[in-house]
Amino acid sequence: MALRFGRAKFPGLGKDSHRNDPYWDFFINRPPADLANTVTEMIRNAPEGNVFPTKSELHTPEITSSHLKGMAEYFGAELIGVVKLDPNENAAGYPFAVICAVHADYDPRQAPGIGGQVPVQNGLFITFVLSSWIRELGFRATAAPEPDAEKLAARAGLGTLSKEGRLITPQFGANVHVANVIRTDLPLAADG
């Protein structure tokens, strides 16, 4: 990349730069009065589309995997991993799970405001477009919230689990949000 001079950015200091903003707490912490005002709700309520009838020509599974990760990165995912599911885990016949994660300045489980839910919103954007793209490639894919998403993320090598079962990553520590899990039958090379 080109030589770049800008303000130095330190991880974890992002939220402090809004200290002088009297409305910032409202943005982060006030739960929305009408959920229809939130994009997260719009994407969650959207139905899944059809699988494209013709399958795209694919490269080798390793290359398909790297293309999938490149695509997710372009959509804004900061950590991406692919997990091979055991036969008892994939009742619907999905051999792979794709895990995307983004950094979260505020824990979305404790900050219900539109601002606090920004990682969720970005995660939904990634998983919605990525799973649609896989279906348009001609393979089945479904994106859904899963309670053990963080365990799968740890299995994909994105980080390790803390004692409370939360994901800790080398890049963002615990300030990370694991997006919906995409289960798919796209032939991929698993990370774990």
Binding site: D21, Y23, F27, V39, N50, V118, N122, F125, V129, E136
Partner: protein, 446 residues
């Protein structure tokens, strides 16, 4: 052809009520920077007479109608990110977001004691939601669409109880326009007229739609009204200091050049402080440069001076010939983007770019032509008169001619039914000027 259509449009609008420059004392003619000037009587634009709605009704002929309504792209990414060329519209996020029913305004209003603090807050919020550029403009009746045309949001819908209000009333009730937008990826834009360039354009467009919808929802949560589909985006961009209007009809920003979207802005009664129009030397540059006019594949960009169109002095592109390119190329790529890619202002957002625009900004007017000539010489020398970089991204390769199929992915051993890497012939992207085709659109005037 184009002229006839525009005349019709003006006639149908004539009864809608002239506003703007003649409105006199209550709404003084706004200063829009050096690149655009409101000089004469302005008739508000009827959204139903703009290109996409016209085409939806089949008024631009069969090939364009079919391109808009009846095509499915060969490319899976285009099918999830580009308007109208999807196989299943449920896969297009813009559709999902813009068609969703609107939420209610929060009855508990947040008190705004200091509009300047609120303006800073809204900008911080927009950036936090993912916008690259934000601007706040003071509303003027001439920025709004003609009444009676309804609300227009592309690939979506908008309805509100102020639908029958005149532009003057809307201006009185909603004094501010917020425009927040995203920029396209610079490196992918180098492969414009290719699916890679489409990806740069369309994915950031979806992101921008999401950002604006979230911002609209947030303003409603603050307890204030936010209207969509009411404001001309370019006017909001210029008046809100996002950029200046270039020869190519695009708003040119100081950090990103022409590679920013101008989506449907938000009209609101939230107390804010408006930004001023900016001067980054676009006016001086466009007088001399003409790179976009030279490379436009349809000769839709004028070589001559500004004209007064509908009471506004600006460079007037021929939108119809620009639009007509699409059915010829849609099998290979979707969005042309040539005028945005060759614009010397379109550069990575880095220090040497800020240095150049900063120099343009701080030079006195009389000295600018010399600086512009120097900068344009540098641009021609280092970036070329047209973009010819070969870009590879994931499975895409702009060195493969459109229509040709070849796997050029390094290390791929999969059989693609006999299509080997040797099928890739050229050493650079598919940017051989399409000038041999251009005279079918319009004869060059210079």
């Amino acid at each position: 052809m184009a002229l006839t259509l525009e005349k019709e449009a003006q006639q149908t609008n004539g009864s809608a009520g002239a506003t703007g420059a003649q409105a006199g004392e209550e709404f003084p003619t706004p200063y829009l920077g050096r690149s655009v000037k409101i000089v004469g009587p302005h008739v508000n634009v009827d959204m139903n007479q703009s290109p996409h709605p016209k085409n939806q009704r089949g008024e631009l002929g069969k090939p364009l109608f079919n391109w808009y309504r009846n095509t499915v792209s060969h490319d899976p990414l285009t099918r999830v990110s580009a308007p109208n060329h999807f196989a299943d519209r449920r896969h297009f996020l813009t559709n999902v977001i813009n068609r969703s029913s609107n939420g209610k305004v929060n009855p508990q209003k947040v008190a705004v004691d200091d509009p300047a603090a609120m303006a800073r807050h809204i900008k911080a919020v927009a950036h936090y939601l993912g916008a690259d550029v934000v601007g706040i403009a003071k509303t003027h009746p001439s920025f709004l669409y003609a009444p009676g045309g309804g609300r227009y949001v592309q690939d979506g819908s908008a309805k509100d109880e102020f639908q029958s209000n005149s532009p003057d009333d809307l201006t009185r009730n909603f004094p501010f326009i917020i425009q927040a937008t995203t920029a396209w990826d610079y490196n992918k834009l180098q492969a414009h007229r290719h699916q890679i360039g489409d990806a740069a354009y369309h994915v950031s467009q979806m992101k921008g739609v999401m950002v604006l919808k979230a911002l609209e929802g947030y303003i409603k949560e603050l307890g204030y009204t936010a209207l969509r589909g009411v404001v001309t985006p370019q006017a909001a961009g210029v008046a809100g200091g996002i950029g200046e209007l270039g020869r190519n009809g695009l708003v040119i920003n100081k950090n990103f050049g022409a590679r920013i979207h101008m989506p449907d802005p938000i009209l609101t009664d939230l107390p804010l402080v408006a930004d001023e129009p900016v001067d980054i030397g676009v006016e001086d540059f466009c007088k001399i440069c003409r790179k976009c006019a030279n490379t436009c594949p349809t000769n839709s960009i004028p070589f001559g001076d500004k004209v007064v169109h509908n009471g506004i002095e600006k460079y007037k592109i021929n939108w119809l010939t620009c639009y007509k390119l699409r059915p010829y190329v849609h099998e290979y790529w979707g969005s042309c983007l040539t005028c945005a890619a060759v614009c010397p202002f379109t550069k990575p957002n880095v220090w040497w770019h800020s240095l150049a625009t900063g120099a343009l900004h701080s030079f006195p007017y009389f000295a600018r032509p010399a600086l512009v000539r120097a900068l344009k010489w540098i641009d021609d020398k280092f970036w070329g008169v047209a973009r010819t970089n070969r870009v590879r991204w994931l499975g895409y390769d702009s060195g493969v001619k459109p229509g040709d199929q070849a796997c050029t992915v390094a290390g791929c051993t999969a059989s693609h039914e006999g299509k080997g890497a040797s099928d890739a012939t050229s050493n650079f992207g598919y940017y051989a000027p399409l000038k041999e085709n251009t005279n079918r659109f319009v004869k060059r005037d210079a």
